[in-house]
């Protein structure tokens, strides 16, 4: 192994490393190790001059191994690999030693010990590098199509953005219509434009776009493959209505005798057993709700079938499975609303005049169950006083610690609407902090203050109901006065928080995605890769990643589309060279590796009369699980061989 010529570069990272670790001493000590041709320290290794120095040395000093001791390889390994490649060195002959996150930052108060540890870490990298072999990136073609899961405003935005760029988009929506929560909203803050007025044109665009195939009332059941080459299985649930024949005329629903609480109106209004969720639904195709249809329940009725002039009713329709091939996937599954029933002290679900914010939207909406009149559920009377209770299920360690980000503005907007409809009404917002951080938000807060809405700084302790008139008594402290109070209101609106969708776990296991402690899907980097996930080729749009209002959901969805467009427009992707390989002579065919592989990258094959495992290179992520599970040591992890790791361990233990 005398041929190794190793160059070592110790980064100061400004004072991030050099403020704690004695970088010069590290360089001196490392310079004395066998095969080390040079060891240098420099202020910012990742800077242009830093990289130029490495490239120069590779050429001039004929280096065939490069060690960079700096930050986490997650930050700059690609940077230095690229630099090496530009100087003619195989990028896999670059090793990183993390002396920032794993050394200077965690041992800030012990500089001497930190220096000793840094020397050990760098020496280990030097020892390992001797075993590194040149590897090749693999290039695979990309299917120029995308799967967008979820048809709310985020999914709509992502789909349109990709389709407009010329890519084929499959938009899968679980419910009978796209539109999501935004379709349920009345006006939107802070501009007060009508939600449906700005949403429905986009919904129509989806239905008309030549590049978009909409799969509504459908669910993604399985996804295999990898960036550029995903295969998705989608289940089309039976509507019992032939989509190609249904004209959306609505005669069937008119004739249907069954009334069912409407999901779209959150149970405040009704729909029929054959229905569209709302008049502007896309696709405008009717769906039979099997649970409530008299034909399915009692084998009677069939009124819809009798009256349908286009013969679209098909009681015998079966679920159908569709297989899609796509190069990228965007998750735009949105959110659920926190169930305020968990905060039993507020009586939601028990007191009829305690409602949540989304229910308010349906009540105030002209196409809602009360035709836009805000009326008390208990007696249908107009409320003379309304309380908005903030932070129900948000900023609460007994529910969700995070701030749901939309509720302050939503309540301000709703308070404004009450004042608009009933100028004499007493409207109070009970809050911990008013968080009005977006563009035009503080200005809207000021406007609502001007309108005479009362702001009371105090989280509501409990709500009681007067049994006779069903009025509500709120108990609270006006914390700015230190006064305990009880005040009666006609209606209380709970600003319920935003939570991960109930089916998040299903999609998580289908795609093997990560979730944060808040339960939402986790982005690859909170600042620099906010729409990517831990799975290459899978992106996040909208509130699936965390609570978002409409402007933020649209921005995130657009960003996800533009990130997804990168591999789609490149037409090919490069896959990591670090993968597993099987020594077929040693393999006993026990199939343990196959059972532990999370990515389905191991397949059995026949080799001279026996079954041996083989690695499907494009699927292998190089995680190493198979290698460590293999009882005969027949699986080798390129770049992380046993010899290399043992050499690293020995180097650390040397001093």
């Amino acid at each position: 192994m005398a041929d190794e010529r190793i160059g070592v570069y110790i980064c100061h990272c400004g004072t991030n490393i050099a403020g704690t670790v004695d970088v010069e001493k590290v360089a001196q000590r490392i310079a004395g190790l066998p095969n080390v041709v040079l060891a240098k320290d420099y202020k910012y290794m990742c800077s242009e001059p830093g990289q130029a120095m490495i490239k120069q040395d590779i050429r001039d000093r004929k280096l065939n191994r490069v060690i960079v001791a700096s930050c986490s390889p997650r930050m700059h390994e690609p940077t230095f690999r690229k630099a090496a490649q530009e100087a003619g060195l195989n990028p896999y002959l670059v090793e990183m030693a993390n002396i920032r996150e794993q050394c200077s930052w965690v041992h800030m108060k012990e500089p001497e010990k930190a220096t000793v540890k840094a020397i050990a870490l760098v020496a280990a990298a030097v020892a390992k590098s001797v075993f590194d072999e040149p590897l090749q990136m693999r290039e695979v073609p990309v299917t120029p199509a995308a799967l967008v899961i979820g048809g709310g405003i985020a999914g709509i935005q992502s789909s349109l953005d990709l389709a407009d760029q010329g890519f084929k988009v499959h938009l899968v929506e679980k419910t009978p219509s796209i539109g999501g929560h935004m379709a349920q909203l009345d006006k939107t803050f802070p501009t007060l434009d009508c939600s449906a007025c700005i949403l429905t044109p986009k919904m129509v665009d989806i239905s008309r776009h030549p590049n978009i195939s909409l799969l509504a009332y459908s669910e993604v059941k399985a996804i295999d493959g990898y960036i550029g080459n995903f295969k998705a299985r989608v289940l089309k649930k039976p509507r019992y209505v032939d989509e190609s024949k249904c004209t959306g005329c609505g005669l069937c629903a008119e004739k249907c005798p069954v009334n069912v609480p409407s999901e779209f109106d959150l149970g405040l209004g009704t729909r029929k057993a054959i229905y569209v969720p709302f008049p502007q639904a896309v696709p405008l195709r009717y769906t039979i709700d099997r649970e409530n249809c008299l034909y399915f329940k009692k084998n009677i009725c069939r009124a819809c079938e009798k009256f349908c002039t286009s013969g679209a009713i098909d009681f015998g329709q079966l679920p159908a499975e569709v297989e899609l091939e796509v190069g990228a996937i965007i998750i735009a599954t949105g959110y659920d609303l926190y169930d305020a029933g968990h905060k039993a002290e507020y009586g939601y679900g028990i007191y009829r005049n305690v409602i949540n914010g989304l229910e308010f939207e349906r009540l105030v909406n002209a196409s809602g169950p009360t035709s836009g009149k805000v009326l008390r559920p208990s007696d249908g009377k107009a409320p003379r006083s309304v309380a908005f209770v903030q932070c129900v299920g948000s900023r609460d360690k007994n529910a969700n610690l995070y701030c749901s980000r939309v509720c302050c503005m939503a309540s301000l907007k709703q308070a404004h609407q009450i004042k608009e409809k009933f100028p004499g009404a007493e409207v109070s917002i009970f809050y911990i902090d008013m968080r009005c951080f977006g563009k035009g938000y503080e200005e809207f807060y000021e406007r609502v203050q001007q309108e005479g809405v009362r702001f009371i700084r105090g989280r509501v302790g409990e709500i009681l109901e007067n049994p006779d008139d069903k009025n509500l008594v709120l108990r609270f402290e006006d914390t700015l006065l230190g006064e305990v109070a009880e005040r009666e209101f006609d209606l209380a609106v709970l600003a319920t928080g935003v939570i991960p969708r109930a089916d998040t776990s299903e999609l998580q296991s289908i795609l093997k995605l990560s979730r944060g402690p808040d339960g939402f899907f986790l982005e690859a980097h909170p600042k620099l890769r906010p729409v990517e996930t831990n799975i290459d080729g899978v992106f996040l749009g909208g509130a699936a990643q965390g609570p978002k209002d409409i402007p933020d959901a649209v921005a995130q969805a657009g960003a996800a589309a533009s990130r997804a467009a990168v591999p789609l427009s490149m037409g090919k992707v490069e896959l990591e060279g670090i993968i597993a390989s099987v020594d077929e002579d040693l393999c006993s065919g026990c199939r343990i590796c196959e059972s532990v592989c999370e990515y389905g990258a191991i397949k059995m094959k026949e080799k001279s009369g026996k079954q041996v495992s083989s690695v499907i290179e494009v699927l292998c992520k190089g995680c190493g699980v198979c290698g460590s599970a293999c009882p005969t040591k027949s699986i080798k992890m390129c770049h992380f061989t046993d010899d290399a790791i043992l050499a690293q361990v020995k180097a650390v233990l040397r001093d």
Partner: protein, 298 residues
């Protein structure tokens, strides 16, 4: 036959022996054996003595637990205050380090506590050991028409993290028991609010405590009830004696009689009001007349 070490506490044996008698009679009917904890003391009172010195509170609690441990039995008791002290002490003393400190003191009196003694409120014994089926089978006198204000008290349910009987906001076990004996649990305002006695407030700020009690009784009266039922001996005292104190101060005219849960149950099981100590409460049991009960048949 299920056996428990019966922790008496202070108020039940010294002020409301009727509750002690009723509990012993009812448990006997269910073949639950209550053994004496000879030499037990005050739990000690969580509100007063816990407020003075939590470490002393813990060691005295540990001594009481050690008596049951010697008997090889879990504890049952009738007062939410005693439950607060002993149940919490048993949880705290699951921690080895804290148990060690307590045992260093108990050693002086040749005692030790090994941990693991369970403390069960009579409510739990009725619910878990007896069960609603057996309870139903023992009801011989349906208390039809009896309108009951159920008062839960605080410390059986809270803090929920260590009591672990579910949410404290809208409990139902007492209402269920009231329905089970054929009576009606009447909803009333602020049903879950404290009687006012706890936390040393009855002894330290008696007028504040009575103010709580007055408001609760007024809410109960407004709902039209015949009696109050509670699973806590201290709440029982606060309502029974407290109403008399309020009447004597001229702040309350009509008093509402109070029953402890085992007294209510005993009545429905056909036991005589005299033996259940119903006449030994400060407020006379006016509801008996309405129910047409003059004497028991057992």
């Amino acid at each position: 036959m299920k056996k428990y070490a019966f922790f008496l506490g202070c108020i039940m044996p010294l002020r409301y022996p009727g509750i002690e008698a009723a509990t012993r009679l009812v448990m006997n009917e269910f073949q639950i054996d209550l053994l004496e904890m000879n030499g037990a003391t005050c739990c000690p009172a969580p509100g007063v003595l816990g407020s003075f010195d939590l470490e002393n509170w813990l060691v005295i609690g540990a001594r009481n637990l050690s008596i049951a441990e010697q008997l090889g039995l879990d504890i049952t008791l009738t007062c939410n205050g005693c439950y607060a002290s002993l149940q919490e002490a048993s949880v705290i003393l699951n921690d080895k380090e804290r148990r060690g400190r307590v045992n260093a003191l108990l050693e002086k009196v040749k005692r030790s506590y090994g941990g693991g003694t369970q403390v069960k409120h009579v409510v739990e014994v009725l619910d878990k050991d007896v069960g609603s089926e057996t309870l139903k089978n023992h009801i011989t006198r349906q208390l039809k028409g009896l309108r009951v204000a159920a008062h839960y008290g605080c410390h059986y349910l809270k803090p929920t993290k260590i009591r672990a009987h579910g949410s404290s906001e809208r409990p139902v076990f007492l209402d269920d028991l009231v329905s089970l004996v054929g009576a009606e649990s009447v909803p009333y305002k602020d049903k879950n609010i404290c009687c006012g006695a706890g936390g040393g407030v009855r002894s330290g700020e008696p007028l504040v405590a009575l103010d709580f009690t007055l408001e609760k009784v007024q809410n109960m009266t407004a709902a039209g009830v015949d009696c109050i039922v509670t699973p806590c001996v201290f709440c029982h005292l606060q309502f029974d004696l407290g109403q008399t104190e309020l009447r004597d101060k001229g702040r309350l005219k009509e008093r509402v009689p109070v029953l402890y849960i085992t007294q209510l149950l005993g009545l429905a099981m056909g036991l005589s009001p005299e033996k259940l100590g119903l006449y030994d409460n400060s407020v006379p049991p006016a509801y008996l007349e309405r129910l047409g009960i003059t004497g028991g048949n057992k």
